[in-house]
């Protein structure tokens, strides 16, 4: 019953990230203040190293190792690859902002890397235990990151809300998991699906337990009616942390949804389809409508996140392979767009000033035509205007929804998207039509300027050739 060494080989990226996080923890204590940059470089090396380790161990089939707790399959590799890419870019974007606020410390990188480790574990979870522990590792790191800016009262409040509601959600999820354990007698997702497939278990019992799992997952995703924490946390947290929370963890949350509902509870899809449908419609409706009334751009983007989550759920609820890959495509595209948008907010912020109101984008075209152009691409993509990448993401999801026979659902989704387009276009109008109020020169480091340009242009370029990314998502299922 011993664990073979070959299992550890599959686990290399995770082991590497953990080791490097511990090294940074020690290094950060002993290096003098002048060498603080070393932490940043070590963290970036960690992400790149993990990416190399993951991408050199490609696989076509799925294998389950570590006593059935860790799954190594094409989906986990693709999601991990994008998680690395996003984490790398997030570190790059956050640098200037954190330095100006005295948050550029070793702890930030340690906690980010443990969050990354949590995401890796969630993405490759084949067992209730590893899924839950990965989720807790991610969440705990995020709570601490939100609270890290001690001088900001808002950040502490946001962290408190995030922590209390997050703990509640974890409790719900755990409760659901314990009930499934009681019913099926196993914690392994694959075995649970086998037990359910036998059809010997009363459906009411399974559906009842499923409700708790769904509540927990919906909380973590931020789907209505479990969305209350999203706007407060997005607004209150330091923007660099909001950037972190809004991008990569969404991919991990998607993986969690897939692992639970598809790997484990595929047999109950008639039950979860209805639940997802209600949450999808409510999320798209509330997210898009409430976002219109916001004056704080971080809060507006939080509501936009909620509406995007609704869209993501649409793909999953079709319960077909094509639907899952469309959803995955949507999640990746959303994470890239969200990363760019929060990156722009970081770019306009400077020491002692937070560019968090929509009015701060007024007349951006006069201050810097290039950044206004990048922001325009991001907003158009979020709104789903062709030929941006966001359009193709929405299109592929709607395509699958219609193919599964939910034409009315697709119509509802399109209607809400049109409502949602309003507040994205309003930002563009502010940037191009209004006069700037704040004429401070925008000072940006070269690496960030290049990264955000690639981010924006990438969304445009991939929008012109959406097949590249879409094919990748199609191939994993």
């Amino acid at each position: 019953m011993n664990i073979p060494m070959s299992d550890l080989y599959v686990l290399l990226p995770e082991i590497f990230v953990l080791t490097m996080a511990c090294i940074i923890l020690i290094v950060a204590v002993y290096i003098p203040k002048q060498l603080m940059e070393l932490n940043y470089h070590l963290a970036q090396v960690t992400v790149i190293g993990a990416a190399i380790l993951t991408l050199t161990n490609l696989t076509e089939s799925s294998s389950i190792v570590m006593n059935n707790m860790f799954i190594h399959d094409p989906m986990s590799i693709l999601l991990k690859a994008f998680i690395y890419l996003i984490t790398f870019t997030v570190f790059l974007y956050s640098r200037q902002y954190l330095r100006a606020r005295d948050l550029y410390k070793g702890e930030y990188f340690v906690l980010s890397l443990t969050a990354l480790l949590g995401m890796q574990i969630m993405v490759s979870a084949a067992h209730f235990l590893s899924l839950y522990l990965g989720l807790e590792l991610l969440s705990l790191s995020l709570y601490a990151m939100v609270a890290m800016w001690r001088d900001s009262k808002q950040a502490s409040e946001a962290a408190m809300k995030y922590f209390v509601l997050g703990a509640l959600a974890s409790g719900m999820l755990l409760y659901g998991m314990s009930m499934f354990y009681g019913i099926t007698g196993t914690l392994e997702l694959q075995k649970i699906s086998e037990v359910i497939a036998t059809g010997k278990i009363e459906n009411t019992l399974l559906a009842f337990s499923l409700v708790f799992i769904m509540v927990g997952v919906a909380f973590k995703l931020g789907a209505v009616p479990f969305h209350m924490w999203v706007p407060d946390v997005y607004q209150g947290a330091p923007t660099a942390m909001t950037l972190f929370i809004s991008a990569a963890p969404k991919l991990a949350a998607f993986a969690m949804l897939m692992r639970l509902l598809v790997d484990g509870l595929q047999g109950l899809h008639t039950d979860w389809q209805g639940m997802l449908m209600i949450m999808a419609i409510l999320s798209m409706g509330l997210g898009n409508i409430v976002a219109i009334a916001q004056t704080n751009i971080k809060r507006m983007l939080a509501y936009s996140t909620i509406s995007h989550i609704g869209f993501l759920l649409l793909g999953v609820l079709t319960a077909t392979k094509e639907g899952y890959s469309a959803s995955m495509f949507y999640t990746i595209v959303y994470a890239l767009m969200s990363m760019g948008s929060f990156g722009m907010i970081l770019l306009l912020s400077r020491a002692g000033f937070e560019a968090e109101n929509i009015d701060d984008f007024k007349g951006l075209n006069e201050r810097s035509p290039w950044y206004a152009f990048i922001m325009m691409i991001l907003m158009l993509s979020m709104a789903g205007v062709p030929p941006m990448l966001g359009f193709w993401a929405k299109w592929s999801v709607l395509n699958q929804v219609v193919a599964s026979g939910f034409v009315w659902l697709a119509v509802v989704a399109v209607l809400f998207s049109v409502i949602g387009a309003f507040f994205y276009l309003r930002i563009i109008r502010l940037m191009y039509v209004d006069k700037p109020e704040d004429l401070t020169k925008i000072v940006v480091a070269a690496d960030m300027r290049i990264a955000i340009s690639i981010n924006g242009l990438g969304i445009l370029a991939l929008g012109l050739f959406p097949q590249i990314l879409f094919q990748l998502c199609m191939n994993v299922f």
């Binding site: 006593n67 707790m69 443990t114 574990i121």
Partner: protein
């Protein structure tokens, strides 16, 4: 012989547990709780659950109760004020007690828990339970165990990050500067005209 030891330990346990809630002095109550833990550890030993017994003594007696005793000794708790309002809260407390009793009767008298008794496999491996627990923790669930360890590390890092800050107003000594101090920095001789004489 075992039965005799069991009854002895049980009698001490019941006595100690009863004294915990009846004794007036909180320090004595805490010490009776320690006694209760020791005797229940002894009962577990009789059941050949040696790991649980050791863990109970180490964790509860060694760590938790010592901490508890410190707190009790440091805070001067007035036991009379704690006992006030007993009659007032009795109905609510009594109701909760009766409810718990009813639930226990319902659960224990129903056939729900007896039903699956035959499904429990009895082919337990012939090792002591410390070894068995070790195998489960460090072999079967090694991966989960390691992640749990990382979570504890993160909790520690987070707690220190959130509480440690260099406060400017806090005063501290710098011995190396104190040693280097010269007479000129500390004493200033001022010429003063003495009046009177």
């Amino acid at each position: 012989m075992i039965t005799l030891v069991f009854y002895c330990l049980s009698a001490i346990l019941v006595f100690a547990a009863a004294r915990v809630i009846t004794v007036r002095n909180p320090v004595q109550a805490a010490l009776f709780l320690v006694l209760a833990f020791f005797t229940s550890a002894g009962i577990w030993l009789l059941l050949e659950a040696e790991f649980l017994a050791i863990a109970l003594v180490l964790v509860y007696v060694g760590a938790v109760m010592v901490l508890f005793l410190f707190v009790v000794m440091m805070l001067d708790i007035n036991t009379d004020s704690v006992r006030e309002g007993f009659a007032r809260y009795f109905p609510v407390g009594g109701l909760v007690g009766v409810l718990i009793l009813m639930e226990m009767i319902l659960v224990l008298s129903s056939t729900f828990f007896n039903k699956k008794a035959e499904n429990i496999s009895l082919d337990v491996p012939l090792v002591d339970n410390t070894t068995a627990l070790g195998r489960v923790l460090y072999v079967d669930y090694l991966y989960a165990f390691e992640i749990a360890a990382v979570i504890l590390l993160v909790a520690m890092v987070a707690a220190i990050t959130l509480t440690l800050r260099n406060r400017k107003e806090s005063k501290r000594q710098y011995p190396e500067q104190q040693v280097k101090v010269t007479r000129a920095e500390r004493i200033k001789l001022v010429d003063m005209t003495s009046d009177g004489n």
